[in-house]
Amino acid sequence: MWMQIAGALATVVIGVAACILYFWGANWFLDKMLSPRGAGDGVATAHQDRLRTRIRPWVFLFPALFFLTIYLIYPVIETFRLTFFDRNGVNFLGFSNYIWAFNDAGFRNSIFNNLMWLVIVPTMSTAFGLIVAVLADRIWWGNIAKSLIFMPMAISFVGASVIWKFVYDFRGPAAEQIGILNAIVQALGGTPQAWLTIPIWNSILLMVILIWIQTGFAMVILSAALRGIPEETLEAARIDGASDIRIFFDIMIPQIFPTILVVWTTITIVVLKVFDIVLAMTNGQWGTQVLANLMFDWMFRGGGDFGRGSTIAICIMIAVIPIMIWNIRQANREEGTR
């Protein structure tokens, strides 16, 4: 065990040393090999200078590009290729994995659930985040409130699942309930339920967990955006006699709308990849399956079916592509104005 920690620390040292050695060494090598020290004629020196200037950026970029290629770019292409192959990625199957997917009840259920998640979670998180951001801005203990609402961001999805599974706990209809949800239901005169086994309700209760986590994120970003609204604009509206509600809807929302969009899309991507919560809470039982968990299932089920797993991954990717394009265009536009 101590060996293991020592190993990890040694890796940090070795890794950092290797990085330094590479960057420093490559840089030194470049200076040495193409140095103007030969005191040759001016043309040769200028030529060497240009060559160095041309090579150096790639020295800086090489390790990063190497990792990006191996761990992200190549896998994307390879996953796409694998969707046309069988479980071991050996025999070509054409489109039969896609045909399988659209005829599979589990897959269709996952698509339906994912759509539901996509509609509910980003909307609710953004809405709650906005409400907290606006409310906390005017109150002296607003910062404490923000910290507390932000806190779930630091908790892992599995940790959050334990927290909420305890909230949803069910002890049989007659027993004393130790889950607070059922205790409240009972106190209000209802009958305690095993919530996680009731379709639709269970999916919504799983979404609650993600909303609980993501609201803090939305709040932080929107809070900063709200603060960016010029004080004069709000002042002017007040002088014109606008009410709080009108200021909120007619001034604040339009002013920060681009940020709302950023928050909304960011949470959308998180939702598309949601996996841990479903795995830990229900493992897709009782009609709660989602794409990411289904893919994980197929990766390992009965030795794993890489063709079908890849096909499901591609479906998630396709959903992400519009956001990706939008992001790249935004980045390019910003690049232009720099």
Partner: protein
Amino acid sequence: MATISTPQSTVEATAARPAPSWLAKISVGKVAAQLALLLLVVIWTVPTAGLLISSVRDKSQLTISGWWTALTMSQGSGASTLPTSAEQVAEGGVYVLRGSVFPEGDNRTIIRFGTSINNPSAADAGETLDMNVGGSITLESDGSFEWVSQTPFEHDRARLFYIAGIPPTFTMENYYEVLTSSGIGRSFINSFTVTIPATVIPILIAAFAAYALAWMSFPFRGLLVALVVGLLVVPLQMSLIPLLRMYNGIANVTGGSSKTYLGIWLAHTGFGLPLAIYLLRNYMAGLPKEIMESARMDGASHFQIFTTMVLPLSFPALASFAIFQFLWVWNDLLVATVFLENRESQIVLTARLRELLGSRGDNWEILTAGAFVSIIVPLIVFFSLQRYFVRGLLAGSVKGG
């Protein structure tokens, strides 16, 4: 790209600004706002509070009563065997038996008591009841009793029944149990083993690339920036199967294992790089141009500028990314499940917790304490470095987590 590009704006910075005066005047609205916010805060904190309180409760109480009752006195009934006639003492013409129904050090208090099992609440503490074997007994709330009789006691067996108030008891026993016997302690070490190198290694690699993308001119630069932005949102799911195949292939060739710490360190490095490059490049590009140019004039090379000026100046951005990556890797379940083995020497906290949820889903004393152990580290990091975390969020809100 995120509409907010000023890395300086943080939660703290905003606190200083006073509430707009136009709101201060509307007091009804203000009260309503306070109440609404309070309600939201309560809803947001109660689940975590429940976990925390439950984790320090006695495990026998945990399963029979809700955690919200833990702070109040609970009631329990009990019975106690009274001393036999052999222990009686004669005092001033009467026969007396004294003692306590509680063992030494018990912190319960008597609320009501009775002489029959069918009626354990016949009298309040401090009152006197007649015993059917003779004499009368007075039971005080601290559990001490005095049993007095005019005639000598002759019984050989007598019992007293009572309702006692049990004060809230808290214990660290659950933590002791999870850390020693259910493997959480070992997983804690494993999580650190995964997290530390996976946080440190990407930083340096990304910093050099970010500098090149921000301050060097070369062909395809714009394209590379676009590539990084695009890779920010690529779902991890796309990488898993090809990498698993690749790792298996390498393991076959070298005869080693495909599931190693080295493998997961490198995987996390690869997955973390887009965000790292993106955050650092944005930050570095915002550094003042004049400093760079005057350094160039003085004959400093890119390498010197980077190591002596840009790297130290970029500390806030480096810290932001480090926190992100630390939280991300620590909290990750998917990558750890795919690239590490499910055995004692490799299973990380999140995977262990998930396993416990499946196998011991009803042992809440283990689950709550285990979950708290797993979230305590991110919470410490989060609350102590919130400023950098928020800064990073604002600068990189394109990334999908």
